[in-house]
């Protein structure tokens, strides 16, 4: 794969600064990374063939500092709504995200309103289903997590120690209690007017596909797609297949 030129810098919004990578040309796409890694990836490389991809490190993750007031999914969603406003062209921007980033994409889109044109998410937690919780991410050892998340454990991203610790601490700050869900989200989904694609790894053992189905049922305009040959992170295990689904959905008007 030829590497496009990825530029790195800081995005300043509403008094906060986020470390951000960007590449590609085309309409703007805000990508919200998963809880494991915020690094540029083959998946983002593919998206950047069709979009101008903006990939900030979420607040408290990677190289981005945590503003003091970011203590919850709700807080982060409001900050990201400002990010969407700042990066939109002609008042519109598409948004994509994986896992925690997918959840934040939905929560942000709920708060940002019409600036968000379309949303594509993969393996997205957030919906509470009684008796069917996500696996307890925090009690698992790193080895157990890898075995749970990936069909092919060799696909697990290499994350440097500083980022691993920061990403894990910030994830805990956002989703510790209630664990990886928002009991309010189900009752709010009907307000999300933008079309949403919900992708799910066929072999997701972290979060059952019922969570994706519940999102599709609750959203006014949503569809589900299942990615073969993948566990919880199709963007990592099947980048080409997921990028194809995301792009064909996101370019529709």
């Amino acid at each position: 794969m030829t590497q496009s030129s990825v530029s790195t810098g800081e995005l300043a919004v509403s008094g906060s600064k986020l470390h951000m990578r960007q590449a590609g040309s085309g309409p703007p796409l805000l990508y919200l990374h998963d809880e494991l890694s915020s690094a540029w990836s083959p998946f983002l490389e593919l998206l950047s063939k069709r979009f101008h991809v903006y990939a900030p490190d979420l607040p408290g993750f990677g190289e981005s500092a945590r503003p003091d007031w970011i203590e919850s999914i709700d807080d982060a969603a409001f900050l990201l709504a400002d990010v969407a406003d700042a990066l939109a062209e002609d008042g519109r921007i598409a948004v994509a995200g994986a896992s925690l980033g997918g959840w934040l994409a939905l929560e942000m889109a709920l708060r940002a309103g019409p600036v968000v044109s379309r949303v594509a998410v993969a393996g997205c937690p957030g919906i509470a289903i009684a008796g069917d919780p996500p696996a307890d991410y925090f009690i698992l050892t790193p080895e157990e997590r890898t075995a749970l998340f990936f069909n092919d454990p060799s696909k697990a991203p290499e994350v440097d120690e500083d980022h691993m610790i920061r990403n894990e601490q910030m994830t805990a700050r956002l989703v510790w209690q209630p664990r990886y869900v928002s009991p309010k989200l189900g009752g709010r989904l009907h307000r999300l007017r933008a079309p949403v694609l919900v992708a799910w790894g066929r072999d997701d053992r972290f979060l059952s596909r019922a969570h994706g189905e519940a999102l599709v049922e609750g959203l006014p305009d949503a569809e589900l797609t299942v990615v073969s040959g993948s566990g919880h992170f199709p963007a990592i295990e099947q980048p080409q297949a997921l990028a194809d689904s995301f792009m064909s959905f996101l370019v529709r008007s």
């Binding site: 009690i139 050892t141 500083d162 610790i165 994830t171 805990a172």
Partner: protein, 388 residues
């Protein structure tokens, strides 16, 4: 020197193959393994040991708080302390708990401690702890805000005890319109505060600033020496010389006939404590956010993700993490440790791991008869002229 007799009340019936079949004695070890009938007998044995400590002349008897674990069966230290208050008349009762950030509201702690202080005629010593990592898995509290909650809960409790109510508390975690606890504590301005810790620099500074007794727990002795030096330094920075009683070391001790027989008798119980009860994947013991990023990195480098490795009683004894030997050896080594560290309060654990009742009582008797009297009058070399 003053002496505190300390108990963890461990569950002594873990199976022999526990280390290979179970992740940890914390959080996920099924409570179907707890037998309430055996539990009844066990509580009464352990409580009788605590009462015996008063008879043997210990200054303080001390209870502990841990949750949902075979490691210790005192999820409510206040329940234990109130039982002991009713059965004792002289010894002070140290409550080490309370894990204040795990409570929904710290005013309950302020109230319960004040009740016990008044009932006991002012015999309560009040511990404040953050709760250890596994307990954040069992409760709703986010480990990332545990320290903030600890600090605010502490500030609120102290103010509730020392300033006239009613007042309004404008806290971040415990905002409250009316703070006005009845009763107030008998001891003035409030019961003495002890702060158990594994030696974090922040805790040392925080405790020294407030003249709180700093209790180092389960730590190789060379680290105890270092932490106590830091504590004295901090106290000087805050403008005072820390009195020896304000520095405490919690340590399991076993006194036998000879060094060899003591080690042989103590080993299965010491190893039960450190290898079974303290077996701990890091994800269980240090949930994300419990430690600062810097400390988390240090712990990860020191242990890897699987947690501490197996140890032996011999190794624990050599590191001064336990003191095991004949009465002469134990006395000599404790004097040496006191000389090096400057502690003036010894918090001793004389029942540990799977040690049966009779053996624990005999260990207590030997310690009280053959070690405590001479050690009591020993003054650390740290405080001899010119060294302090």
């Amino acid at each position: 020197m003053q002496f505190a007799y300390f108990h963890l009340m461990p569950w002594p019936h873990l199976p022999d193959d526990f280390e290979t079949t179970e992740r940890s004695a914390w959080v996920t070890y099924p409570n179907s393994h707890y037998d309430p009938v055996l539990g009844n007998e066990l509580y009464h044995q352990y409580l009788s040991q605590l009462l015996h400590a008063e008879e043997l002349g210990f200054d303080v008897i001390s209870v502990n708080e841990h949750h949902q674990t075979a490691y210790g069966l005192m999820p409510s230290p206040d329940v234990m302390a109130s039982w002991l208050i009713a059965k004792t008349s002289r010894a002070r009762i140290a409550i080490l708990g309370n894990a204040i950030p795990l409570r929904d509201h710290p005013m309950r702690v302020a109230e319960e401690i004040a009740m016990m202080d008044v009932i006991s005629g002012g015999r309560v010593i009040c511990g404040f702890v953050r709760g250890i990592g596994p307990e954040y898995h069992n409760f709703t509290m986010n480990p990332a805000v545990g320290l903030e909650r600890f600090r605010e809960a502490h500030d609120l409790i102290i103010k509730a005890w020392t300033e006239p109510g009613p007042f309004r508390w404008e806290g971040r975690h415990y905002p409250l319109e009316h703070v006005n606890p009845w009763p107030r504590p008998l001891q003035q301005p409030h019961p003495p505060i002890w702060v158990p810790s594994q030696g974090s620099g922040e805790t040392i500074e925080w405790a020294a600033e407030r003249h709180y007794t700093f209790v180092v727990t389960f730590t190789p002795h060379r680290n105890v020496v270092r932490y106590m030096e830091q504590y004295r330094e901090q106290a000087r920075d805050f403008g005072y010389e820390a009195p020896p009683e304000q520095m405490a070391w919690a340590v399991p001790i076993y006194v036998g006939e000879t060094d060899e027989s003591a080690l042989a008798e103590a080993a299965p119980h010491a190893e039960y404590l450190f290898n079974k009860l303290l077996k701990r994947p890091l994800s269980v013991f240090f949930p994300p956010g419990y430690l600062s990023e810097q400390s988390a990195k240090g712990v990860l480098r020191a242990f890897g993700s699987i947690g501490v490795s197996r140890t032996t009683a011999e190794q624990l004894n050599e590191e001064g993490q336990m003191v095991i030997g004949s009465s002469e050896s134990v006395l000599r080594r404790l004097k040496e440790y006191v000389d090096l560290s400057g502690i003036g309060t010894l918090v001793v654990l004389l029942q540990f791991g799977s040690m049966p009742h009779e053996q624990a009582m005999a260990n207590m008797d030997r310690f009280a008869r053959e070690v405590m009297p001479e050690l009591r009058t020993h003054v650390s070399a740290v405080y001899e002229a010119g060294k302090a």
